[in-house]
C-alpha cells in the first residue's frame, strides 16, 4: 500500500478554504492522489468541486491545512517556484478561459510557448492535437467564433498538449455531445496510461461508468467522502509505488 510521502502526486491534509469572512466552502479535506490514477470528483453544484480544483491547480491558497504537490509544500513554497510546478499540471477550466485574441492554434500552443519551445517544434503537435479533437478546420478561428463545444475541445487540447503529470479537468464534457464526451474521456485515459494522474470533476454520473478503473471522490457541502474507498485504500498500479 502507498504510504504518505512515498511517491504521492498530491497530498491534502485537513484543508479548509473560505472566501473572505464567509463560511468555509471546503472543510477538513484530506486525501492523497497517486501517480497514474484516474479520479472522478463528484458532488452537487456548490459542493466545492471547483474550489478544490483551484487548490489543486495552484490558483488558490487554502485558509488552513497543508497541501503538498509533487512532493513540494504548496503553502510555504516561494512564489518563484510556482511556475515550474504549474508546468507539470494541465488544467481544463470550467469556463474554458481561452485567450480571446488568440486563435485556436495559438491557444493550444500557449503552454508550449510559455515553456519556451521553438515555433518549429510547436507547429506539428499542435496541429495534430487540434485535428484529433476535430478542429483541424478551425485552427485559425478566434474563441468568440467557436461554439461552446469547440471552445471546450480547444481548452482540453491546451491542457494536454504538454503531457502533464497531473491533469485537472472541471466539467470537461459539459458542452460536448455524448460521442465527443466519450472521445475526450478516451484521450484522458490514454494520457492516464502514459502515467498522467487525472482528476475530472463532474456531476454527470453516466460519465463515471465510462472509465471502469476510475476512483470516485465525492464532495458534499465542502466535505469529502470516499464511496470507492480510493482515499482509504489507494490503487495499486504499475506506475505507483507499493
Amino acid at each position: 500500500m502507498n504510504t504518505p510521502g512515498s511517491g504521492e502526486i498530491v497530498q491534502f491534509d485537513n484543508v479548509g478554504l473560505r472566501y473572505g469572512t464567509e463560511r468555509e466552502v471546503l472543510s477538513d479535506v484530506s486525501f492523497t492522489l497517486y501517480p497514474g490514477s484516474f479520479y472522478f470528483l463528484t458532488g452537487a453544484s456548490g459542493a466545492g468541486k471547483t474550489s478544490l480544483l483551484k487548490l489543486l491547480y495552484l490558483s488558490q491558497r487554502p485558509s488552513r491545512g497543508g497541501i503538498r504537490i509533487f512532493g513540494t509544500d504548496a503553502i510555504t513554497m516561494p512564489r518563484e517556484k510556482l511556475p515550474a510546478l504549474r508546468r507539470r499540471l494541465g488544467v481544463v477550466f470550467q469556463e474554458f478561459r481561452l485567450v480571446s485574441h488568440l486563435s485556436a492554434f495559438d491557444n493550444v500552443a500557449l503552454p508550449l510557448r510559455v515553456a519556451g519551445f521553438a515555433e518549429s517544434e510547436i507547429a506539428k503537435p499542435v496541429a495534430d492535437m487540434l485535428e484529433w479533437v476535430g478542429l483541424a478546420d478551425r485552427m485559425s478561428a478566434r474563441p468568440a467564433t467557436l461554439s461552446g463545444g469547440e471552445q471546450q475541445r480547444v481548452a482540453i487540447a491546451r491542457a494536454v498538449i504538454g503531457r502533464p503529470q497531473l491533469l485537472v479537468a472541471d466539467e470537461p464534457t459539459g458542452n460536448v455531445d455524448p460521442d465527443m464526451a466519450v472521445k475526450l474521456l478516451r484521450l484522458f485515459e490514454a494520457l492516464n496510461r502514459l502515467g498522467t494522474t487525472v482528476v475530472v470533476a463532474t456531476h454527470d454520473v453516466h460519465l463515471l461508468k465510462k472509465v471502469p478503473d476510475s476512483l470516485i471522490m465525492r464532495l458534499d457541502k465542502g466535505r469529502l467522502s470516499d464511496p470507492t474507498g480510493a482515499l482509504k485504500y489507494p490503487p495499486r498500479r504499475s506506475g505507483s509505488p507499493t
Partner: protein, 307 residues
Amino acid sequence: MKRPLKLFPIGGRSMSGAAQAELLPQARMAGPIPWVIAIMVMLMVIAVAGGLALRNVARTAANELSGGITVQLVEARPEVRNAQARQASQILSALPGVSQVVQVPQAEVDALVEPWLGGDIDEADVPVPAMVDARLDGKITPERLMVIRNALRNQIPSARVDAQSSWLTPVFGAIASLQWLALALVLLLGLATVAAVLLATRTALGSNRETIEIVHLLGGTDQQIARIFQRSTALAAAEGGVAGLAAAITVVVLIGRRFAGLGSGMATGGALSWIDWLIVAAVPLLGIALATATARWTVLRALERML
C-alpha cells in the same frame, strides 16, 4: 484515436520574442504611451538644448571677456582726453602681465553710444569718454586690478578701470539660473513620464488581467510577463521618442536660426556643437529606458500581489 499524438513534457526554456509579442494584444498594451513619450521627449529635448545653448553662451562670453579690462577716460576736453588715452596705453603696455593694449577708435565708441545718444553727437554737449581695452595674461584677480588702478591713478586720476567680466556678472548669474531651470524641467518631465507610463501600464495590466492569469496558471513566470510589457512599452516609447525628437529638433533649429539672425556675438555663441547634438539625441534613449524600466517595475510589483 486516428494516430498517436506527439505530446511532450514541458521544460523550462524562455519564451521567444515573437511568442511574447503575440501573447498580449499590442494595441491594448501601448495605449497613450507613444503620445505621452512624444510630448515629454519634445519638451525634454527643447529644455536640454536650451540649457546647452545657454551654457555655450556663458562659456563664449567668459572666454572672450576673461583677462580683459577696459579703461575709461572721462574728460570733457577732447585733446586732453586723447592725450590721456595715449598715456594710459603707454602705462598699461609697460605693466608686467599685460599682453595687448588697444585704444578703441573714437568712431567705434560713438557707434556704441549711438543707440542711446543718436548719431550726431555734439562733443560740447555730451562728452563721450575715450576707451582703452587691454588683455592680461591669465585671470584677472582683485589684486592685479588694484595694481593697474594704482599705476593709472598716479598719473591720470580720472581713469576708471573695470574688468570686462564684471559687467556680465549679473548676466552670467541669470544664465546659470536658466540652466538650473532647464535641469529642473528635465527632471520634472522625467517624473511626469514615469507617472504616465506607470498609469498606462497599470491600465494595460487591468485590461489584460484575464490573459495574465491564464499565462500564470500555464506556468508563465513574472519575468516572462514583465518582458512582454517591457517590449511593448519600449516599442511604443521608441515610436514616441523619434516623433518627439524630430519635432523638438525642428523647433530648436528654427529658434537657433532666429538667434543667429540677431548677429550678436553673445547670441551666436549659443550654437550647439556636435557633442551637444549627441547629448540631445540621447534624450529619447533616456526616455525609452525610463519608460521601459518603469513598465517592468510596475508589472513586477503588480504580479507580486497575484498568486
